[in-house]
């Protein structure tokens, strides 16, 4: 069933343990036709079935290009963590291959670890070591000599604005500083790709902004970043490409703009009128492209395929029908709409 091309994604089927995605649409972005030499992460038919039979990841074909920030989006239990686990040697795939920087992770986990940096969601800094030592020993684990590890630790502390905390115990760091130190640590051995699990979870807004500045700066220097996130607005703003996952499958891969254009519900329109609301609603619902028409609190709300030109169209249509609008607003589609369209609204816990 699993195709040989990493870019053909099978159409998801309802698998009984959750709702089927409301839209089965599948997209892969760009003009991809197969893994390119510049792809840092390539998975082919990657599958994980946990003992007990739970299928966490179902034939995953994924490709992350060198130098991009790639986001993995999905509800809880979608298979994101298992996917990252397989790419970072901590979860052994049941079948399929995962290749990071040309190294088969399953066959050569110790080698593959040289090519990856990992920033987990929990604070996994070494509590027995101070801030500087966390970096120094990381360098030593990766084969740097004493002097090289020292200078790498010093330089990264400067760069991540932690130099004045170098002798601090890691338990005394704020959440934002701890996360920055973990990013610094993950980068110290110059991995081909760094994996970040919910990098901004639990951080205050300032720390979130500071962390994104770091990640965007790294990307500017060619660092490949793969992250999982729940924060749609961050994914929209910062990720070059996104994969939306659910039930262990990839439902769509594209740029944020591409996803919104192809899978969004277009523009959400709210039109207010003093009178004849129901007539207006009935009138609009006969027009081509108008969907989800409903009357709520003195407003008529409906969706249009695209935000562009929506306002003029609604005004012209209302005038043609003899309706007087007192207020009109059009909001553009968000990634969240795309996400909910694909993964459904059921609560996942």
């Amino acid at each position: 069933m699993c195709s040989s091309s990493p870019f053909e994604v099978s159409v998801p089927e309802p698998d009984g343990d959750g709702p089927a995605p409301t839209s089965p649409a599948i997209r892969t972005g760009g003009a991809e036709s197969g893994p390119a030499p510049s792809d840092v992460v390539v998975t082919t038919c990657l599958r994980k079935v946990y003992p007990g039979g739970r299928v966490a990841v179902e034939e995953l074909n994924l490709s992350v290009r060198r130098g991009e920030i790639f986001g993995l989006l999905g509800p809880n239990g979608a298979g994101k963590s298992t996917t990252v686990g397989m790419l970072t040697t901590r979860v052994i795939p049941t079948s399929g291959t995962a290749v990071v920087n040309g190294i088969d992770v399953r066959a050569y986990p110790a080698r593959a670890k040289q090519a990856i940096g990992v920033v987990s969601q929990a604070n996994t800094l070494d509590q027995g070591l101070n801030v500087w030592e966390n970096l120094y020993f990381h360098g030593r684990y990766f084969g740097l000599g004493d002097r090289a590890a020292r200078s790498a630790a010093d330089e990264l502390l400067e760069r991540f604005r932690l130099a004045d905390r170098k002798a601090s115990e890691v338990e005394d760091l704020s959440g934002g500083m701890a996360r920055r130190l973990m990013v610094a640590r993950a980068l110290l051995h110059r991995p081909a790709v760094i994996f970040l699990d919910e990098p901004t979870a639990g951080l205050d807004p300032q720390s979130r902004i500071a962390l994104w500045e770091v990640l965007v700066e790294l990307q500017g220097e060619g660092q490949t970043v793969l992250l999982t996130t729940h924060r749609m607005e961050e994914a929209d703003e910062h990720c070059d490409r996104l994969a939306i996952m659910d039930h262990g499958r990839i439902l769509a891969v594209d740029t944020p703009q591409g996803l919104k254009a192809s899978l969004g519900s277009g523009a959400a329109v709210t039109a207010r009128a003093e009178e004849r609301l129901d007539e207006l609603a009935a009138y609009l619902s006969r027009a081509a492209g108008v969907t989800e028409v409903r009357v709520i609190d003195g407003d008529v709300r409906f969706n249009l395929p695209a935000a562009h030109g929506a306002m003029q169209w609604v005004l012209a249509a209302a005038q043609a029908g003899g309706f007087r609008l007192t207020d009109l607003s059009v909001s553009d589609d968000t990634l969240e709409t795309v996400f909910v369209n694909l993964t459904g609204q059921d609560l996942r816990e």
Binding site: Y50, R66, G67, G85, T88, T89, R90, V91, I92, T97, V99, N101, G102, I103, D104, A107, Y108, P109, A110, R111, K113, Q114, A115, I116, V118, S120, A122, N123, T124, L125, D126, Q127, G128, L129, E133, N134, F137, H138, R140, Y141, F142, G143, L144, A148, S151, A152, E155, L156, E158, R159, R185, L187, R190, A192, E217, L218, E221, G222, Q223
Partner: protein, 293 residues
């Protein structure tokens, strides 16, 4: 499909002010990288031991000091009967071996065991070492080596306590060859036992380590009595052979007070080698099962 890991053609990381070090490492072979990681992890463990030396010594010394003080200093002083027919001096000499054995095993269980429980279950701080370019097995072996060295260090700290605290003379007849071969084996046993337990206990159940594991192991470990002296209770005598601490205690008796009846070294050595191998395998497997799914 493999490829060498080395400098890539991507732009340099780092800013102009603070450039990252150049990628000066060329492709490292797996054994070379593993050995470097192994040494670095040992260095890390001993850096931390150095920082916590006062706490480590206090924690290691307290129990043996109290035992030796009460049983071999205080009891003879207040005329409390102890040591059966042999008197207080003989008892002090016998206890010496038991105390060293107990210290080594306890350091294994508590230093390696509780550290593993904490690092795996509470703080997750082992993550960085698990992601070092080596196998999980080698991370486990490093823990055993590091724990074994700490056990050795603790035995050396405790030795003077057993020798000088008792109020009656302690007569030791040290057998250097036995002592020098047995001690590393005992330390290996202790650390492997600690890894086995530490990788299987969760933070929620770790408190049972003391009550359910360490206490029975200790009281039924031929520390306060010799194994041959259990002849009047044959069922217990042979049941105790399942306790790895018995071989360590009896082995130290052969090394320190050889004239006293003790379990034959022909039994002690093979038993300790077998248990070291079994617990090493169980410990390595335990860690792997815990961190790789």
């Amino acid at each position: 499909m493999t490829a060498a890991v080395g400098p890539t053609d991507r732009p340099e990381l780092g800013t102009q002010d603070h450039p990252l070090p150049p990628p000066d490492r060329t492709a490292r072979s797996s054994p070379g990288a593993s050995w470097a990681a192994f040494r670095a992890m040992l260095l890390r463990d001993f850096t931390i031991l150095d920082k916590r030396l006062p706490q480590f010594v206090a924690g290691t010394v307290m129990q043996p000091l109290m035992l030796v003080f009460v049983l071999t200093y205080l009891f003879p002083k207040i005329g409390q009967a102890i040591g059966g027919g042999g008197g207080a001096s003989r008892f002090s000499s016998l206890l010496m071996a038991g105390i060293v054995a107990q210290t080594i095993i306890f350091v294994g269980i508590f230093t390696v065991g509780t550290e593993m429980v904490r690092e795996l279950g509470i703080t997750g701080e082992m993550e960085d070492r698990l992601l070092a370019p080596t196998s999980v097995s080698l991370v486990a072996v490093e823990k055993i080596v590091s724990g074994g060295l700490q056990a050795l260090f603790s035995a050396m700290v405790v030795f003077p306590i057993g020798a000088f605290v008792p109020s009656t003379p302690v007569y030791l007849d040290v057998q250097p060859v036995v002592l020098l071969t047995l001690t590393p084996l005992a330390c290996l046993n202790a650390a492997a036992l600690g890894l086995t337990m530490g990788s299987r206990f969760s933070p929620g159940t770790a408190s049972y380590l003391f009550g359910v594991v360490a206490l029975p192991l200790s009281f039924l470990g031929a520390i306060f009595y010799t194994w041959p002296s259990l002849t009047p209770v044959p069922a217990l005598k042979y049941a105790l052979l399942a306790n790895p601490l018995v071989y360590v205690s009896e082995g130290f008796r052969a090394a320190l007070v050889p004239s006293e009846p003790h379990l034959s070294l022909a039994v002690v050595y093979p038993a300790m080698i077998v248990s070291a191998v079994v617990f090493t395998v169980l410990g390595v497997r335990g860690l792997k099962q815990r961190v790789v799914t």
